[in-house]
Structures are given as C-alpha cells and as structure tokens.
C-alpha cells in the first residue's frame, strides 16, 4: 500500500482522536494540570541543591565574656549577609535543647564557659554546634552552614591577627594571601545560580511525553477495541500501520502541548534558562517517543482489555521514571541501579535533552544517544507491529 495513503489515513485518525479529546473537557483539564503538578511537586519535594535559608538556630552563651560576645556579633553580621539562619538567644543549654526537641530549632551554637579565657591565653576556643540529626537533610545543611560560618569567622579573625602582627613588626603584608594562600573561583556551564529546575525541566519534559504516550496507548487502542469502533477502522481499506501512526501522532501532539507548557512554566516561574536549540530539543522528544512507543504497543497487544493494558504500562513506566536520571543524577545511584538505567531508553533521551537545552549541544554531541534511541525504537517496533497486527485479528 502506498505511503501517501498510509500517512493520510494516519492524519485522519489523529485528527479524529484530537477532536474527541477537545470535546472531553475533563481529559483536557487533566492534561494541563498534570505537567504543572509535576513541575511544582518534583521541583519542591526533591532536594533542590541550594541551601535552605532562615533555618531557626539557637545561640547559648555560657561564657558571657568579651570573646563570646564578639563571636556572637560577628556570627550575626556574617549571617545577615546570606540569612541562612534565624539566630535566637537562649540563656541555658537545656532551654535550647527543649526547643530542638519541640522541633522549633534545627540546632544551636553553644559557647562553653572559658571561651574568652582561651582566646586571650593563646588557646583555641571551642564552639559546640549541637545539631538535631533526626532529619538528615536539615542536619547536614546545618552542619555545613555552621562549619562554614565558623571557618569564615576564623578567616576574618586570622586576617585581623595577621594585620596586627605585621603592624607590630612594621611589615606590610597581604593578610588575605597569608591566611588563604589558595582560592577557588567556580565557573558553571550554565551561567547564573545553580538551579535544580535547570536539571529537572528537560528530563521532566521527556518524561511527561513518555507518560502521555505510554498511558495514552492503552486508552486509545484498547478502549476503541472494547467499544467496538476499532472494527470500523479495521474493516475499512486502511493499513494497520496507519492506526498505530495516527494514534501515536495524536498522543504526540498532546505530549508536545504539555512540553511547551512545562517549558513556559519553567522559564517564567522557576528561572530556567535555555541555552540550546528548542527545535533540536523537540526533534529529540520525537525520537524519544519513537524509542518507547513500541514498548507500549507490545503491552497493549498482549493484554485483553484496557485495564490490564494500563497496568502493564504503569509497571514498565515506574522504573523508567525513577531510574532514568530525571530527578537525580544516575551517577548518584548504586551500581546495579545504574546498570538498569542503561537499558532504559528514557535515560538517553533525558540525557540528550539536558545537553541540548542546557549546554547548547549540537546533533554531533548527542549522536550516541540518538543512535541508541533509534536502535531501541527499531527493535521494539519490529516486535510491536507484528504483535499488534496479530492481536487485531484474533
């Protein structure tokens, strides 16, 4: 059968499916809400990389000396710059600990007696940082912030000391170079601040498309099989490929609509910056769809009704969602999970999407991913199409 006829029939089927979708207000609403919900949910649930600010932290000054009050005022000044902490004063350790147990404080600085004495007598003065580690996420953040603050205060004090010493000996020195002989300057691939949404958005786009297409296939195909309209198409002189193409195309249009929505939300509300070519990104989306649509069709062909088709698809989809490195980098997973992620097409699609959108990668940079996705698609389609044809004339 000639290709033009197949394409035309596919187009008619796609147009029909989209018209049906337009008439179904609930589906339409769900279609729009889903990407928004995903972006907001995953954007906020998962550790976003940037440190939390305004964490309630106590300060207990048991020393009450000059050294301790200077330390506390320096701590206050330093914190005023970045507002990582909300510092609150407590008169006793027990009072601060009670607040921690109540969940009102994440931790507390405790300045033990003798702090000022040590400072003025050539000793290191120790500050206790008491951390509530019942919440590991927050505990590590508090630890980092507290340690950085103490290190920063050390540096300031050290520079001050060096300046004093150099003045007494009549030398002119660069205090900073003595205290900090090494400095680092971090330059990122993506200009601007570290933004978890930058990492999330490209992967989320391809994932939403995958979810739309994968869950849409059982709905689109099994449902028609069940209500009997499939017989109308199958008894018409059309190639069965047209049905697959048309249905997938309709789902692609839906998925692409959602992608544009994600992109807009990510750029407008979450400060995502796009460096690469949007056109290439969308071509990548299309290729991604081609790579996993076969899996969905296999699932549908093997199941009797819509319910079991949807179940199989969900079963396949969940590992894909979480192991494809969409929410957190694959490199952070244990080795066996990394191995599994290697056999998931979404991994390559998400990776390529990220490279294209964030790093302005060209076709040549993601050629490996492109080839792997094409291979996935060809193999799964080669299995899916005969299975689908067979299931149609059972």
């Amino acid at each position: 059968m000639d290709i033009m006829k197949i394409l035309k029939d596919s187009y008619h089927i796609m147009a029909k499916d989209l018209l049906s979708l337009r008439r179904n207000r609930m589906s339409l609403a769900a279609l729009i809400i889903m990407p928004i919900a995903f972006l907001v949910m995953f954007g906020f649930i998962f550790p976003s990389g940037s440190t939390q600010t305004h964490m309630p932290v106590g300060v207990v000054d048991l020393d009450q000396g000059q050294g301790s009050s200077e330390f506390i005022s320096q701590l206050g000044k330093m914190n005023a710059n970045n507002s990582y902490m909300n510092l609150q004063n407590f008169t006793s350790t027990d009072a601060a600990k009670t607040e921690i147990n109540r969940g009102k404080l994440y931790g507390t600085f405790i300045i033990p007696p003798g702090f000022s004495y040590n400072l003025t007598h050539g000793q290191s003065a120790n500050v206790i940082v008491y951390v509530d580690n019942s919440n590991p996420q927050i505990a590590s953040q508090i630890e980092t912030v507290a340690t950085n603050t103490v290190t920063g205060l050390n540096g300031m004090q050290a520079e001050y000391n060096v300046v004093n010493m150099s003045q007494t000996t009549g030398q002119n020195v660069n205090a900073q170079a003595i205290v900090f002989p090494y400095t680092s300057n971090i330059v990122t691939t993506i200009p601007g601040q570290n933004n978890y949404f930058n990492f999330l958005a490209p992967g989320l786009m391809i994932m939403i498309v995958m979810m739309t297409v994968m869950t849409g296939i059982p709905e689109a195909i099994s449902k028609e099989k069940e209500i009997g309209t499939f017989d109308g198409m199958l008894s018409a002189p059309i190639n069965q490929i047209s049905i697959i193409l048309g249905k997938t195309a309709a789902l692609c249009v839906r998925g692409f609509g959602q992608c544009i929505l994600i992109l807009l939300l990510a750029v407008i509300f979450f400060g995502v910056t796009i460096q690469g070519s949007i056109l290439l990104a969308f071509l990548m989306l299309l290729l991604g769809i081609f790579s996993f649509v076969g899996i969905g069709i296999v699932a549908v062909s093997m199941s009797e009704d819509q319910a079991s088709g949807t179940m199989i698809v969900n079963l396949l989809m969940f590992p894909m969602m979480f192991l494809a490195g969409i929410f957190y980098p694959i490199q952070q997973m244990p080795w066996f999970m990394q191995d599994i992620s290697q056999i998931i097409p979404l991994t390559y699609a998400a990776d390529a999407m990220r490279k294209i959108m964030l790093l302005n990668a060209g076709v040549g940079d993601v050629i490996t991913q492109i080839l792997i996705l094409i291979a996935f698609g060809v193999v799964t389609m080669a299995i899916a199409v005969p299975l689908f044809r067979k299931s149609m004339t059972r």
Binding site: M1, K5, K8, D9, H12, A15, K16, L19, S20, R23, N24, I227, G228, T229, D231, G232, M233, L234, S235, A236, P237, I238, N239, M392, T393, R394
Partner: protein, 338 residues
C-alpha cells in the same frame, strides 16, 4: 445465472479447543438478503467477523466479491460495509464528523462525501441532527447513523450483525425498510439475527446455525415446509397444575422431540409419530395434569423449524444476549422460556 457475492468453503474458527465456527460452506448470490439465524453463541458473529477480515479463519477459505479473504484482505475491505453488534461511532463526535471520518478512510472525494452524507441522513430522516453529538442520541437514532455509516462507501456487500437488537418497534421497522431499500439497489445483505420474525421478514434465504454448524439452509418458505411435510406436530398445551415432575415425564416420552416452557402453565411441544398427540395427552392425564387448552400451530414459523432441528427454542429476547449457551445437547433439550 447471477454470480456469487460470497463463497464460503469449509470455514472454521477455533478459540483454543472451542470451535466457534465448524466447517461451514455456502454461497450467497449477488443481490440476495441472506440470514444467519441461530441462538446466542451459535457462531453467527464469528462468521461475520471472519467475512469482514476482522478475524483470521483457523482453516478454510472464503471469497468475497471474488477476492480471497486472507490473501486479498484489502480488496475485500473495499467492497464491504459492516454494521457490527457494537455500534461503530464516537460518542463525542457529531453525526457528520463520524460519517466524515469513516468516509475519508475509504478515500471518498470531499464533495462527493459531503453530498453522500446529506443524502444518507435524508434517507434515515435525520438531517436536522447532522451536527449534534452522538451522545445526545437515542439508541434508535444511533443505530440509524451506524447503518448509514456502513453504507457510505457504497459497498457491494453489507454485513449486519443483529441490526435491530434492542431497538424499539418503530426503529426496527425503519431499519428493516432501509435494508430492503438498499437491497433493491443491488446491495447484497448478510444478516445475522436470533429473531425469527426478522429472518423471516427480510431474508431471501436463511441458514440456521447452531454450535458453529449449519443445520439447515433454504428459503424461509421451504424451511417451514420441511417440517410440515414430516410427521412432526408442534402444539402448545396449557396445563393449570403444571409441575417440574410433569415436564420431566413429558420430556422423557419417545415421541417428544423438543419441549420448551412458554410461561407458568404453557408448554410448547414438538413431537413426532403417528399417534403422538394422543399419547402425550394420555400421559398428562395419567399424571393428573389438568389440561386447560391445546393450540395447534396452524402455520409453522421459523421458530418451529429451529425447535425441530435443534431440539431447543431460540430466545427472542435481547436482554438475554449475554447468557451463555450450554454446551452439548441431545435431541431432547429443555429450554425454559419465560
């Protein structure tokens, strides 16, 4: 001699170890209305599905308009229209959108398609509903659209699987009118039904199908003669104190070939033999049955033919469509009616 629209040779369809259609062979002439009559699960729908290329035959062949069912499937599809048991249309689309969608799949040119849609809507008297969504339609209106959808590509052969199932009398009447109309224009109609009256009213020839096998094939007239010529008598007997024991006693009689219960008091009995009627009456009286009336079926119907041939009654109730058909049946099977 008119050529054959359909030639079926030893067509068989098995689902696992269940044989739905068992080695059937028949020819349908061009311009004929051909009825498949049988109870639910007899294999009518499966036969239609095979002839529409929707199911692959396990063995055997069939030619539709001269094209082989399997080898020339796409040519077969060009020549057929299907009115399946489940309506083929999309609820959220309008009548015109549904018709347009299916019309396009048959490559009907745009202007011609629009003209055809208007003509067909006029034929079923539904022009004013053209741009209304299907989900606002009554079952009868839906079925009219469903039928004209199958007629869109001007098929040479149209398959109709239970086209009047669950419809009200008016719609049933109008659907039958449409069937006669299109047949007059030369379209061959293949019809399945479990309603005797429908098969009788419409069909030029009827194939009685039971358990996947064709048990009789002829004109309705000849089929009816077939049983009146024999020594078979069919009559209804009303017994005021009808009991299960009595039914069983009657059923066990050698002369009784088939029996069905019509209501609380009435039995329909098909019997064979010279003195069958007297013998049965004697038995009933001997069992202290109180006969209220006996009605002889003056003119036999296709239902009687079916009863005689298969030993059981066809059920003419749409609501019982889903009821499974019991396997294995002897000459004497009792089917309890309402």
């Amino acid at each position: 001699m008119t050529p054959n629209a359909i030639e079926i040779n030893n067509l068989t369809k098995e689902f696992g170890d269940f044989t739905a259609v068992d080695n059937i062979s028949l020819q349908v002439k061009e311009g004929e209305i051909f009825g498949f009559l049988g109870p639910n699960g007899a294999g009518k729908s499966t036969t239609i599905r095979m002839l529409c290329t929707l199911a692959k035959p396990t063995s055997g062949t069939a030619k539709i308009s001269g094209y082989d069912l399997v080898k020339d499937a796409s040519n077969v599809r060009e020549n057929i229209g299907l009115v399946a048991e489940k309506m083929i249309m999309y609820d959220t689309l309008t009548a015109a959108e549904n018709l347009r969608f299916f019309g396009k799949l048959y490559r009907i040119p745009k202007e011609k398609l629009e003209r055809r849609i208007d003509d067909l809507l006029e034929m079923v008297d539904m022009q004013e509903w053209k741009n209304t969504q299907i989900n606002k339609f009554s079952t009868g209106m839906k079925q009219r659209i469903n039928v004209i959808r199958a007629l869109l590509p001007e098929p040479k052969i149209i398959f109709m699987d239970e086209p009047t199932l669950g419809l009200d009398p008016q719609t049933t009447f109008s659907i039958r009118e449409i069937i006669r109309d299109i047949n007059k224009k030369g379209v061959t109609v293949i019809l399945t039904t479990h309603a005797m009256t429908e098969a009788e009213a419409l069909s030029d020839r009827v194939a009685i199908i039971d358990h996947g096998k064709i048990v009789a094939l002829d004109t309705p007239e000849n089929l009816k003669n077939m049983i009146t010529d024999s020594e078979t008598i069919i009559f209804s007997v009303k017994i005021t104190n009808l009991s299960h024991e009595l039914i069983e006693k009657i059923q066990l009689l050698d002369t009784v070939t088939a029996l069905s219960q019509q209501d609380d008091h009435t039995l329909k009995i098909s019997a064979n033999g010279k003195d069958a009627l007297n013998y049965i009456i004697d038995t009933i009286r001997h069992e202290s049955g109180n006969i209220f009336s006996i009605t002889n079926s003056n003119e036999s119907t296709l239902e009687d033919v079916f009863l005689t041939l298969t030993g059981k009654e066809i059920r003419d109730h749409a609501s019982e469509k889903a009821a499974p058909v019991p396997h294995g049946h002897g000459a004497k099977a009792q089917t309890r009616g309402r």
